[in-house]
């Protein structure tokens, strides 16, 4: 019985891939009046559907492990359906339907976790519904402008109309993306969601916001085709070589990534750190979308792909650790490298990609984004992005050091075993994909990015060879980098062994040079908890870490509650009050009307 259910579940998780492969032709489903759902597969949505098709099964396999009962499976399938509807939709109503199905099914999935608190659940659903309703509002504005729901570029758009159209839609998508200060729901929900589901939240759901943002650009006059004159550029003119409106979006993205990066460094919880880091990564994509040039959109798409793979890998691996140790805090783990080697390599590959280190694809996408910023001559944005992407090294190092290196800080960490195969299979697959993509960025561009760019009317990046990533500003060859590094590594290692002398293995992990002292288990040797404390002495970082948006939202909630209490006072259970009020209102209205009537 359960086996059958799990089999069905796997089949369902493969449905996006099936859709991607076999979907052809458009389907129309009338609702009422002139509202009709059109389903069609455009290259842009095909790209994001590809992400879902990749991610869905890989995220589903670990779910087979935990004895999750059928509701989880059903909701996950529903979530996939929602995403497919969203991506296939050729009109806004279909988009909204998919969006909402995605929202509430993911919310119900979030509730499956025993750790979810009321505050988390409420912040998740309310902010996401705010996004959804903002989307609906924008859609209605669009409808009143064009008289239809089909997604296509608006013919001509005044600045104010543009604002009225862009404003709500951008709000909706930015909430989904989780940009500061709308990111409240992201960390807590990613953290408290079921461990195997956080991967989906971070890897797939956030990408839907990206899809929306790119879709938003295509709405504007001339779509993206017009280069600078099209997209955001068509709205409020240009700043340097980029669209002025995009400059704002760019800063939103970069500030998001900076804030999120520093918050991530300060986290004590692995999943929370990953949550903040995914906010930061998506911030880069937002910036790139703000630039809106061919390079930038290419970089954004590439980074979306890479980030999906990386976050699936990292969240799955961390879920494995949590499964085996039951611990999620940096200060409790340590020295797992000997206990969970495969997981170690998973996290290693993940953070190398996250840090954007060559030769993994994280560098390719960042390279495209950097070059696009230079091309747009937005150097200050570039510097800010460098800040966050360099600061990212800190939390990347912490992510690998605290759990895997150093000293085991808890009995669970001392006795943990390697994660089960349901976790390892996706990890290995993802590692392979990442390495392959890092070797052949040109191939990745050719297969995934260029079709979308051509469909959007942008000039494709093109790639002379599989390994080479080419831009007008010059490129690099992933194969050569990897080959040179690998060759150097082999040569150096062999040379090292040619040298005379003995290698001596440390007799115990506590055989450390410790100022002549002899440390032991009781000595606090694991630096995982305190890492990055001195950052707080840097004024900027201290300011960022010292502030939070929670107070704002809490205040909002308090005020609403107060208003509710005030109004509830009206609904006292005393009939005489009711009647009195009714009569008073009657009299008042009568006098008003009569006076207004002027008799």
């Amino acid at each position: 019985m359960t086996a059958l259910v799990k089999l069905l579940f796997l089949a369902a998780s493969l449905s996006p891939a099936a859709t991607l492969l076999v979907w052809d032709g458009a389907l129309a489903w009338p609702l009422f009046g002139d509202v009709t759902l059109l389903f069609d597969l455009a290259p842009l949505s095909a790209f994001f559907l590809l992400l879902v098709a990749l991610g869905a099964p890989l995220a589903a396999i670990p779910m087979l492990r935990d004895d999750a009962e059928w509701p989880t499976y059903a909701l996950y399938a529903l979530l996939l359906v929602g995403m497919q509807v969203l991506l296939l939709a050729g009109d806004f109503i279909g988009l909204f339907v998919g969006w909402e199905i995605m929202t509430w099914s993911s919310y119900l999935l979030l509730l499956r976790s025993p750790r979810t608190t009321l505050a988390t659940a409420q912040s998740y659903i309310l902010l996401n519904l705010l996004s959804a309703f903002a989307l609906l509002g924008g859609i209605l504005v669009y409808y009143s402008l064009t008289g239809g729901f089909a997604i296509q570029a608006v013919a001509d758009l005044g600045p104010w109309q543009g604002l009225a159209l862009i404003g709500p839609l951008a709000l909706a998508f930015l909430i989904k993306v989780g940009t500061v200060p709308l990111h409240l729901w992201v960390p807590c929900s990613y953290d408290e969601a079921p461990d195997t589901f956080s991967a989906v939240l971070s890897a797939l759901l956030s990408k839907m916001g990206i899809y929306g943002l790119i879709l938003l650009l295509t709405l504007l006059p001339g779509g993206l085709a017009g280069g600078l004159s099209g997209g955001l550029g068509g709205l409020y003119g240009h700043l340097l070589d980029g669209p002025a409106a995009g400059y704002v979006l760019g800063w939103i993205g970069v500030i998001t990534s900076i804030v999120a990066t520093f918050k991530a460094i300060a986290q004590e919880d692995m999943k929370r750190l990953l949550a903040y880091s995914s906010i930061a990564q998506v911030g880069y994509i937002t910036t790139a979308i703000g630039v809106g040039s061919s390079l930038a959109i290419g970089g954004a798409l590439f980074h979306a792909l890479v980030h999906t793979l990386i976050k699936l890998l990292l969240f799955t691996t961390i879920a494995g650790i949590v499964l085996r140790t039951g611990l999620r805090s940096f200060k409790d783990l340590g020295r797992l490298i000997y206990r969970m080697p495969i997981s170690f390599f998973g996290v290693l590959i993940g953070i190398i990609g996250l840090a954007g280190m060559p030769p993994l694809p994280g560098f390719a996408s960042k390279y495209l984004i950097f070059v696009s910023l230079i091309d747009a001559r937005w150097l200050l944005l570039l510097a800010a992005m460098i800040l966050s992407s360099t600061a990212a090294f800190l939390y990347c190092y912490r992510l690998i050091y605290a759990p895997f290196l150093g000293h085991a800080n808890s009995p669970q960490a001392r006795t943990a075993t390697e994660a089960p195969w349901q976790y390892l299979v996706p990890e290995v697959v993802l590692m392979g994909l990442l390495v392959a993509l890092g070797l052949f960025p040109g191939l990745g561009v050719r297969l995934f990015v260029d079709p979308v760019l051509t469909a959007l009317g942008l000039t494709p990046l093109g790639s002379p060879s599989w390994g080479e990533l080419a831009t007008p500003y010059g490129g690099y060859d992933g194969v050569v980098v990897m080959a040179v590094f690998g060759g150097a590594f082999v040569v150096v290692t062999s040379l090292f062994f040619l040298l005379r002398g003995r290698m001596r293995q440390a007799a115990s992990p506590y055989d450390l040079s410790y100022a002549g002292e002899v440390p032991d288990e009781t000595t606090p040797l694991h630096y995982g908890a305190g890492m990055g404390r001195e950052l707080r002495r840097i004024p900027l970082v201290a300011w960022i870490l010292g502030h939070s948006t929670q107070g704002l939202y809490a205040g909002l909630v308090r005020q609403t509650q107060a208003a509710a209490g005030l109004l509830a006072g009206l609904y006292s259970g005393r009939p005489q009050v009711w009647i009195l009020l009714a009569v008073l209102v009657f009299a008042a209205a009568l006098t008003v009307q009569l006076l207004a009537g002027g008799i």
């Binding site: 230079i374 800040l387 600061a391 190092y397 080479e468 010059g474 003995r502 606090p524 001195e534």
Partner: protein
């Protein structure tokens, strides 16, 4: 075949220049302190001595691979930097690389080594690594901004093209875009791990920082890569700002001039704390960079 000669040539050049420069550095410091100082080959002696230590303590596989990774990173970096202008020699694989790639390769090795430091389990080492990463966070911003000014000036990220664009002294980036040079100068000193930004390996404070557990041949390996990488960085700056070099002697001369400037600055300043350094980078060089951006980009 060409590569078989070229690659060893590049590695040898960077190594030899490396220990000579550092030997000079120690003598120079000694003279400033009214000492005789060691011989100019002292760094070679130290390095070889460590490489021939008869015993080396290792803390496990990851600890062993760290130094290997960092040397491979240094070699890779050097091989992606063109040493000479319009010459087929000492080019390595620089046609397949670019400036941004090189900047990232600079930190590739140290990050790999950081894993080894972590796996040694010595908290002082990890403290040093954290300081190093924090300092990196501080210095990369103005450093990259300055380089971005250069990239924007020549509208390319290829070192070859930038070098080729500066044929005469009048066209050196140092002359045409001095502000960019000023912006990157101090961050560059920090990236060379020279005073006053050398708090990472503070011997008494964090017990030699990242290197605390590395002895014997590992230490020799680390010294080797340090020398090579420093030379690589110097050569890169020569390529970018001093118009590159057509032959080895000009290269040495220009690199030495640059090195002299750096050592002179670093010899006379006391050490900064980590957060002081970062704050400094975000105020002075970055502010200068912003000024540069406004002056050279916005006002055109």
């Amino acid at each position: 075949m060409h590569y078989l000669l070229d690659i060893p040539a590049m590695i040898a050049t960077s190594y030899v220049l490396g220990f000579l420069f550092y030997g000079f550095y120690r003598q120079y410091n000694a003279r400033i302190q009214r000492r005789w100082g060691p011989s100019i080959f002292q760094n070679l002696y130290d390095n070889l001595k460590f490489l021939f230590k008869s015993e080396t303590l290792s803390h496990g596989p990851m600890f062993f691979f760290g130094p290997m990774i960092i040397v491979s990173g240094a070699v890779t970096t050097v091989l992606f930097i063109p040493f000479l202008k319009d010459s087929i020699w000492l080019q390595g694989f620089s046609q397949h690389g670019n400036l941004i790639l090189i900047i990232y390769l600079f930190v590739l090795g140290p990050l790999g080594n950081a894993l080894a430091v972590g796996s040694s389990g010595n908290p002082f080492g990890v403290m040093g690594v954290t300081r190093g990463l924090t300092r990196l966070m501080g210095l990369e911003v103005p450093f990259f901004l300055g380089l971005a000014l250069v990239m924007l000036q020549y509208e390319t990220v290829s070192v070859h093209a930038i070098m080729a664009a500066q044929s005469s002294i009048g066209e050196w980036t140092l002359v045409t875009n001095p502000i960019a040079f000023l912006v990157i100068l101090l961050p560059f000193i920090a990236s060379m791990n020279a005073a006053p930004f050398d708090v990472v390996g503070a011997p008494q404070e964090v017990y030699a920082g990242p290197r605390v557990e590395f002895g014997g041949r590992f230490l020799g390996v680390l010294m080797t890569q340090n020398m090579m990488l420093s030379v690589g960085k110097l050569v890169l700056l020569v390529d970018l700002f001093l118009g590159g070099a057509t032959n080895l002697f000009i290269l040495i001369a220009k690199a030495f001039a640059l090195f002299l400037l750096i050592t002179s600055i670093s010899a006379v300043f006391p050490r900064l704390k980590t957060e002081q350094a970062v704050d400094f980078f975000w105020k002075v060089p970055l502010g200068l960079g912003v000024v540069g951006v406004v002056a050279t980009v916005w006002l055109q």
